[in-house]
């Protein structure tokens, strides 16, 4: 029964990773860019919610809705100030620039909020503590179900947005071929800015879940980025539903690893990621010396 429990926990954890990874997947899909500050953006979102909760005493879920416009604005700014410039100059520049940004965000958070570990679990009310006892060995936490349902809604809504709305068509056209999209009158700058704003908003949702389900501090970002990127790669880069499945696979690998030994949690996730890379890119030729 405990294995069944571990699988269930893995699915809930995986849904959280899928939400974290969603923004990374959107930006890669539309702009072919990986934002190395993505994890820090999620943690920044957690801090914005934290500040609102501290100031007003409202529920973190309501505070997130208040924080959303701020995060969307930050997404636009990120695109207009850093990403737009870096997209023009080769594949390494966006990585270098966002890595620099990642260090800046972490240390500004450190200066503003001290290195203390925080959590919003207590502020979120009964949702974090309640659970359904199915059998003696199996209980389903309400928060896990909430995150899973929200994850499915987020991915479903994105699917509808991309397939049914005009803005979604423009985004897909730009992702397919930005020059051709420009020719038919689509402003790719605007599309990129909207994609980044959307990615930052969903990252903040990931930050909210991080803050409620566990703890966070100013340097939590890099770990979130690694897990999010692993989910994107496991699911197949450029595929939105793949990212949801990749997140679930990563969550399952981690909880099943932790089931064997609690210290193996992150390790089994990393090993799944590396195994997927080997299988997916394993067909290439090996060359060391003179053979061409």
């Amino acid at each position: 029964m405990t294995v069944v429990n571990a699988v269930l926990q893995g699915i809930f954890l995986g849904a959280f990773y899928a939400v974290l990874a969603c923004g990374l997947s959107i930006m890669f899909g539309v702009m072919r860019v990986i934002n190395l500050a993505h994890g820090d953006v999620a943690v920044l979102g957690a801090y914005v919610v934290f500040v609102i909760v501290q100031g007003t005493g409202m529920s973190p879920f309501v505070a997130f809705v208040v924080a959303l416009p701020v995060m969307i604005l930050l997404g636009y700014l990120l695109q207009l100030t850093i990403l737009e410039r870096s997209l023009k100059s080769g594949i390494l520049t966006p990585l270098l620039a966002t890595f620099g940004l990642s260090i800046v965000i972490q240390n500004l958070l450190l200066i503003t909020f001290s290195p203390d570990v925080r959590s919003l679990g207590e502020n979120a009310g009964a949702v974090t503590t309640s659970s359904w006892q199915v059998t003696s060995g199996l209980s389903v936490s309400t928060l896990g179900v909430v995150i899973l349902v929200v994850a499915v809604i987020v991915f479903g809504a994105l699917q509808l947005f991309l397939s049914r709305t005009r803005a979604g068509w423009m985004m897909r056209a730009t992702a397919e071929d930005s020059d051709a999209a420009e020719l038919v009158g689509i402003d790719s700058r605007g599309v990129y800015a909207r994609a980044t704003a959307l990615a930052v908003a969903v990252a903040a949702l990931g930050g909210l879940f991080l803050a409620i389900r566990s703890v966070f501090d100013p340097v939590s970002g890099p770990t979130q980025l690694i897990f999010a990127f692993e989910a994107v790669v496991i699911g197949g880069m450029g595929s939105l539903w793949g990212t949801l499945l990749g997140g679930l696979a990563l969550g399952l690998a981690q909880t099943l690893g932790a089931h064997i030994n609690p210290e193996y949690s992150a390790l089994t996730g990393h090993l799944l990621f590396l195994a997927v890379l080997i299988v997916r890119y394993g067909g290439g030729r090996v060359s060391f010396g003179t053979a061409r």
């Binding site: 870096s86 620039a97 990127f229 210290e263 890379l277």
Partner: protein, 332 residues
């Protein structure tokens, strides 16, 4: 027209570089031990910057995971010293192990490109870090001291470590220098300028990249060995920290990506910043991150690359230049 390798400046400067290396060797005989320790730190930075530049500047491989090799070097020293090997021999062995491990890692890592390579290397560093934390003999998560180095009096120990650092720096920078000057170097610079074009002209891109990757594995391993010997205490949280990658990126971007001299300049700058401003404070890291991002966006060739471009200056002869010869006969 003729093709020229050496210029007057580069002859002068290469001579000066050799003279500086010889002068540096006398530092432990002349200066106090805290100066020796600081200069060891500078040499470590120079070595790290040059190795990261070899990967990113010439191979187009942006790694956020070179701390994997730094950690292997440092923990390798602890491992061999624990077996009873003399500490300085343990350091050389640990460097060789770090380089050797980079070979199998390269077969996985070099299949990846851009962001996948960058984060893939980071994950590999995390995996090695977790494996170290699981090993009680290596001090697990709490760290371990290099007690075997206590058999030397402190100023002798610092002198030996400095000479080892100088030796490693000279060896690895010379290796890179001669690699870039060799026929292989021409293909490396072609890959730097345009990988696809180089491949279409018959350059064996994968093999060349592997050469750089293994060189950087050795070099970063050597740097890790020296970091351990200089601090005497190793802890997985700091030796496998992604902050090493941040320092390397800063030094190379500010100095000049894809130039030989730039990373050395970047290392001297970071060393100067670290000794001038309070070490490790968060504002200092905000400054480093912001400067690196600004250089990536606004001055991608760095300080040295820009100087080289504007003035046509070349201090160390790693490339070729075409010069107009006065009175040359124009014939077909």
């Amino acid at each position: 027209m003729r093709v020229q390798r050496w210029t007057r400046t580069s002859k002068l400067f290469t001579g000066a570089t050799l003279a500086i290396a010889v002068l540096l060797a006398t530092v432990p005989l002349v200066f106090e031990s805290d100066v020796v320790q600081k200069l060891t730190n500078l040499l470590i930075l120079v070595l790290l910057a040059a190795m990261w530049n070899a990967l990113a500047g010439y191979g187009g491989l942006l790694s956020v995971g070179q701390q994997a090799f730094i950690g292997i070097g440092a923990y390798g020293t602890v491992f061999f010293a624990g077996l009873g090997v003399s500490p300085y021999l343990a350091m050389v062995l640990a460097t060789l192990v770090a380089g050797a491990i980079s070979v199998p890692i390269s077969f996985l890592a070099l299949r990846l490109r851009a962001a996948q390579f960058a984060i893939g290397m980071w994950v590999i560093a995390e995996v090695i870090s977790i494996l170290v934390r699981l090993d009680q003999n290596l001090g697990a998560g709490t760290g371990i001291s290099l007690i075997q180095l206590n058999q030397y009096a402190p100023n002798f120990r610092q002198a030996y470590t400095f000479w080892l650092a100088l030796g490693f720096t000279v060896i690895f920078l010379s290796a890179l220098f001669f690699l870039l000057r060799s026929p292989l170097g021409v293909s490396l610079q072609a890959i730097r300028d345009d990988e696809d074009a180089a491949r279409s002209l018959g350059v064996r891109v994968a093999a060349r990249k592997r050469l750089l990757f293994v060189l950087a594995g050795f070099g970063c391993g050597a740097a890790g060995v020296l970091i351990g010997a200089n601090t005497l205490f190793i802890e997985p949280g700091s030796i496998f920290s992604v902050q090493w990658s941040a320092y390397m990126i800063f030094m190379v971007l500010v100095g000049g990506l894809g130039t030989f001299e730039g990373p050395i300049l970047g290392a001297i700058l970071l060393f100067w910043i670290r000794t001038t401003f309070t070490q490790g404070g968060p504002w200092y890291l905000v400054g480093l991150g912001a400067t690196a991002a600004l250089f990536a966006l606004a001055l991608p060739r760095g300080i040295w690359g820009t100087i080289e471009e504007r003035l046509g200056l070349r201090l160390l002869p790693v490339g070729y230049r075409v010069v107009e010869v006065t009175g040359e006969k124009r014939s077909a």
